[in-house]
């Protein structure tokens, strides 16, 4: 028998898997065996660390050395040099993008320094398929404490006191929601976890489920006890196969250990959990549509009230929360509401996980205390804008949210500040955009998404978003008319006020917020037929520069014969015939055609 002296943690999140972490893990196992070190070194597959940009990630303990972008071919060197001889493989360490400084350990990297990890505390630290590792770090103590030392009312009170608000987008106080469900008298109640995660760009729920599934199960179990439910569903989209697989393993292990099932902790409390795979329609993330989908009906929302707390799944009182919301619960019970209130602002307690994407150096997942500024997220954690470009705007809250321009970067990120700035927290997707982005095009992108995801049940959403999209499309094609901006605004107002569910009620937000902060770009498109960022193809003027060698390839490539010129002399484009397809630019071998 030998002491296990080192652990090699290989990230097995979806991001790292797609960049080859499975091969890396296999290589570690075989190289370690070749060196006959398998009795003293353990290889562990973990969930996501959030630093997906630099995957596959490998951390070696006890030193805590953080290796980035590890390829299969690098493994032999790590095993021979680091694991055998104790020499850190310098070239695979992370470098800070601004200083080029090499950083040996996890905790010193700028990306992690400003983070406060509560929800993600175990992600990337434990093997998500081994319940023992979760328990070793204090797992299921929240459930044990709730069941053996607290009344259901006491649990509700504690969650209310913590100030926790829903992380699924709306920000409704969680404790209050639990109280409503607890107060509904019925012999059958349900608890549901919303893991539909439909916002484009958001992947925090997936990462939590893949990296620490038991944390979500524990939160659900505590909730079920508090409201008096004995059955629950996790609604996950089928596009998340790894999350589903890990949830299945987790539920089975929790049942075997007695954390789920009958008479949990001898308290008489029973809970059965099921997984329901969704087909990936955005509207099925809306709670009433989600429940219809679980019931086997078409996923369409219905008017509320009655709220789910009164009449939910199969007409029974139901409490539904988001994955991240549930992932906060166990810590609140174990460490107490007062501890939790130590993070965040007066009205937004705790932390929020953001998915950083777009033109930013460090894309990935970051958990920060509420109230941190957008600037800190983008520059300190995100490492600033790619390729030395200038920041233009950040889109927050996905298709229901809005864009914030540079002068709002000092805004504290919390539910209420964001709403007052015309955006919203949403699920926490952050798309950073640089100077090359056209804001009308961005608005069109999001509206195109909501429009195609509209379920069609109510007229304002079905017809209204279509009309708005038509107007945006014609603006970007140079056919915008005077009065279009006003028409967009009045349609937006009507849809917001009359749509049946949150999808329609928030669909106009990307348009309204870009109109608010970037109205001049709309005006340039409409009045001057010009796209200031040079994105909208139909508004671009293609010009042949002096670099032209007169080869004639552009003229051959032009589908409408708009280009003329003699061989070996500079060609010209006839603006009146050109349809702005860009084929000439692709055809030119001398980069002599530019968009102006």
């Amino acid at each position: 028998m030998q002491h296990i002296r080192a652990h090699v943690l290989v990230c097995g999140g979806t991001g790292c898997k797609s960049s080859g972490s499975e091969k890396v893990e296999a290589a570690f196992r075989s190289e370690i065996e070749k060196m006959n070190l398998q009795n003293e070194i353990m290889v562990v597959e973990t969930g996501c660390h959030g630093f997906c940009e630099h995957g596959p990630l490998v951390i070696v303990y006890p030193e805590g050395t953080f290796y980035c972008s590890v390829k299969e071919d690098d493994v032999k060197e790590i095993v021979e040099e680091h694991l055998f001889k104790g020499r850190i493989v310098d070239r695979l360490l992370y470098r800070e993008p601004l200083t080029q400084e090499k950083v040996p350990t996890y905790s010193e990297i700028g990306f992690y320094k400003k983070q406060e990890r509560i929800v993600l505390e175990n992600c990337g630290v434990i093997n998500p398929e081994a319940i023992e590792e979760y328990v070793a770090l204090g797992g299921y103590e929240g459930l044990a404490k709730a069941l053996t030392e607290m009344t259901p009312e006491g649990v509700v009170e504690e969650v209310k006191k913590s100030g926790l608000r829903g992380r699924g987008g709306g920000g409704f106080p969680t404790g209050m929601k639990w109280q409503f469900a607890a107060g509904s008298v019925n012999d059958k109640k349900y608890v549901i976890c919303n893991a539909d995660e439909g916002d484009p760009g958001a992947f925090m729920d997936r990462s939590v489920l893949e990296g620490d599934p038991h944390k979500v199960l524990e939160g659900m179990a505590i909730c079920a006890y508090a409201i008096g439910a004995d059955e629950g569903y996790i609604y996950v989209r089928a596009e998340y196969p790894l999350a589903i697989q890990r949830l299945e393993v987790a539920i089975k292990q929790a049942e075997e250990m007695g954390f789920l099932g009958n008479n949990i902790f001898g308290s008489g409390f029973n809970l059965t959990l099921h997984i329901k795979e969704g087909a990936g329609a955005f509207v099925c993330g809306e709670e009433t549509a989600l429940m219809a989908s679980i019931e086997g009906k078409r996923g369409m929302p219905r008017p509320r009230p009655p709220f789910p707390a009164v009449s939910g799944l199969w007409g029974k009182p139901t409490n539904i929360n988001n994955v991240e919301t549930f992932a906060n619960v166990a810590n609140i019970i174990v460490k107490g509401a007062d501890w939790y209130c130590g993070y965040g602002t007066e009205k937004s307690k705790g932390t929020k996980v953001f998915a950083l994407t777009g033109k930013i150096n460090n894309t990935g997942l970051a958990e920060v205390p509420m109230g941190i500024t957008m600037k800190e997220i983008i520059y300190d954690i995100g490492g600033g804008i790619n390729d030395g470009k200038k920041f233009k705007a950040v889109q927050i809250g996905g298709p229901s949210g809005g864009c914030l321009p540079e002068h709002l970067l000092d805004l504290p990120v919390d539910y209420d500040s964001l709403i007052s700035a015309g955006a919203m927290m949403g699920s926490g997707g952050l798309v950073v955009m640089d100077e090359d982005t056209c804001m009308v095009d961005v608005a069109k992108f999001f509206l195109n998404f909501t429009q195609s995801e509209s379920c069609g049940k109510c007229t304002p959403c079905r017809e209204g978003t279509k009309r708005m999209l038509e107007i945006l499309t014609r603006i970007t094609e140079g056919l915008g008319r005077e009065g279009d901006i006003e028409l967009l605004e009045s349609l937006a107002k009507n849809i917001k006020e009359t749509a049946l569910c949150g999808l329609g009620q928030t669909a106009p937000n990307p348009v309204l917020s870009t109109l608010k902060h970037f109205r001049n770009e709309y005006e340039a498109h409409i009045m001057e037929k010009r796209c200031p960022a040079g994105v909208c193809d139909k508004l671009a003027n293609y010009v042949i520069t002096d670099a032209c060698k007169g080869c004639g390839l552009c003229a051959k490539g032009c589908p409408v014969n708009a280009i003329s010129g003699t061989v070996k002399e500079k060609h010209i484009i006839d603006e009146t015939i050109c349809i702005k397809c860009g084929a000439c630019m692709t055809a030119c071998p001398f980069k002599a055609i530019v968009k102006a």
């Binding site: 002491h3 080192a6 303990y61 006890p62 001889k85 104790g86 630290v125 328990v135 770090l137 103590e141």
Partner: protein, 122 residues
């Protein structure tokens, strides 16, 4: 599993399996430079790992280091107990390695006849 205490007892047991990820406790550092390996550092490492397992020691971390320039003194083994000086042992053989674990790591008594250096830890 009936009570919170049952769970806590289980946790204490399971905690040891992932202790390596905490980087705390007593450190044993073995010189694994080319010189160290040539002098038999691998065997010393295996011996120490065996001893830790046999004695079921919980809060010990084993690390390696490269050549520190005292090649003629290899195999070099350092022991750092939290809050105490870093002790460097030289010319460690299998027997010495067992003594170092039994005496210094377990009981806190330095194996004086093998010590070649002491470094104050802050």
């Amino acid at each position: 599993m009936k009570t919170l205490d049952d769970l806590k007892a289980l946790r204490e047991k399971l905690k040891e399996d992932i202790r390596v990820r905490k980087n705390d406790g007593i450190k044993i550092i073995i010189g694994m430079g080319t010189c160290g390996i040539a002098a038999g550092a691998r065997e010393i490492m295996s011996t120490i790992l065996d001893e830790i397992a046999t004695r079921n020691l919980q809060n010990v971390q084993v690390q390696q280091t490269g050549c520190i320039g005292m090649c003629e003194q290899e195999v070099l083994v350092d022991v750092i107990r939290p809050g105490e000086d870093r002790i460097t042992y030289g010319k460690v053989d299998v027997n010495d390695a067992k003594r170092i674990v039994a005496e210094h790591v377990v009981n806190g008594r330095i194996v004086e006849d093998k010590v070649i250096g002491k470094i104050k830890q802050d």
